[in-house]
Symmetry: none
Subunit: 153 residues, 2 copies
DNA sequence: TATAGTCCCATTGACGCCCATATAATCCCA
DNA sequence: TGGGATTATATGGGCGTCAATGGGACTATA
C-alpha cells in the first residue's frame, strides 16, 4: 500500500486551485480515486486530506441504527460535517473552498505534507514554524530521556 | 456506497422551498430516488433526512406486532408518524412543511449537514453553536484518551 | 373564488471542463 | 557521455454547462 510521503509546495491561483503533487495523486489513483476528501484538522491551523475511501470506512464504523443516534462519536460527525469531496480537474488540481483557505490561512502557496495514510495542507510559513517547534520539543524529550537514563543507570 | 458529506447552506424562499445540495442529490440519484424522507430529529433542534429506502429498511426491522413498553418501538412509530416524503421539483428543491420550519427554527437559510448515511437540516446559527459544543466534547474525549494512554503505557 | 400546492421556465453566477504554455524530468540514440 | 526529443508536471486562462434561485401559470380543494 503506497502512502503519502514528502512535502511539496504548490501555487494557489486566483480561482483557488492548487495542483495535488503527482506522487500523492499516484497514491489515490492506485485506489481508483479521482479526487480527495479534505477537512479542517482538529489539531492545528491546516487542512487534512485523504482518499474518499477513508471517509467511507468511517461511515462503516458508525452504528447503522435507523433510529437517530445518540451522537456518540462527536469527532466523526464533526469531520463528516466539515469535510468536502474535492475532485481533480484535468490537470490534477483541486479547488480549495473559501472555508479551507481561511482555516489554514492559505493565500498564494500551499504545502502538501505527507502523513502516511493522510496528508495535510499548510501555509508554508506556518508549517516551517510548526516544524521548528516540533523539533524543539523532540530535542527536549530526548534530553529528558538521557537525563533519566543517567540517574537510573 | 456514496454517503452524505459536507455542509451546504442554501436559501429558503417565500414558498418554503430550498435546494437540496447537488452532492446530496447525487447520493440519492445513485439509488434511483427522486426525493428525500425527512423527520424531526430526536436529538436536537433540526430536521433529519435520508433516502426513502432507509425508512423502508426501518420498517423491516420492526416487529410485526408492536411490543408494548419497548422504547425502540415507540421511537420508530414517532418517526413514522412525523416523517414526510419530500419530492424534488424540477430544480432539485424540496418544500419544507410548516412543522419542520418551526421545529428547526428555520426562516431564511437552511444548512444541510452530512452525517454519512443521513443528513440534517439546521438553522445556520444554531448549527454553529451546536458544533462548537460538539467540538468541546470531542476535545475532552481526546484528552481523556491521551491521559488513559499515558497511564497504561 | 380564494388559497395552497405543483409544475414549468428564466436568469445569473459559479464551477467544471478543456486547451494552451512553460518548465522540468526522462529517455533514446548517436 | 552529450545533445536532442519526448513525456509529464505545474500553471494560466477561456468557455460552456449546471446549480441555485426567482417568479409566473396551472390545478385542485375547500
Amino acid at each position: 500500500m503506497k502512502s503519502f510521503i514528502g512535502t511539496f509546495v504548490n501555487k494557489i491561483d486566483a480561482k483557488g486551485r492548487i495542483s495535488v503533487p503527482a506522487p500523492f495523486r499516484a497514491v489515490l489513483q492506485a485506489k481508483n480515486l479521482s479526487g480527495v476528501a479534505c477537512y479542517p484538522a482538529l489539531t492545528g491551523p491546516c487542512i487534512e486530506g485523504c482518499g474518499l475511501d477513508r471517509i467511507e470506512a468511517m461511515v462503516e464504523t458508525l452504528p447503522d441504527q435507523p433510529i437517530p443516534g445518540l451522537d456518540e462519536d462527536a469527532i466523526a460527525h464533526l469531520i463528516f460535517a466539515s469535510a468536502r469531496e474535492l475532485p481533480f480537474d484535468g490537470g490534477g488540481r483541486i479547488v480549495l473552498p473559501a472555508e479551507f483557505l481561511k482555516k489554514a490561512a492559505l493565500s498564494d502557496h500551499g504545502a502538501f505534507v505527507g502523513k502516511g495514510r493522510t496528508f495535510q495542507i499548510w501555509n508554508p510559513s506556518d508549517l516551517e514554524q510548526a516544524q521548528a517547534e516540533m523539533f524543539e520539543r523532540a530535542m527536549a524529550e530526548r534530553q529528558a530521556m538521557i537525563e533519566a537514563r543517567k540517574e537510573s543507570g
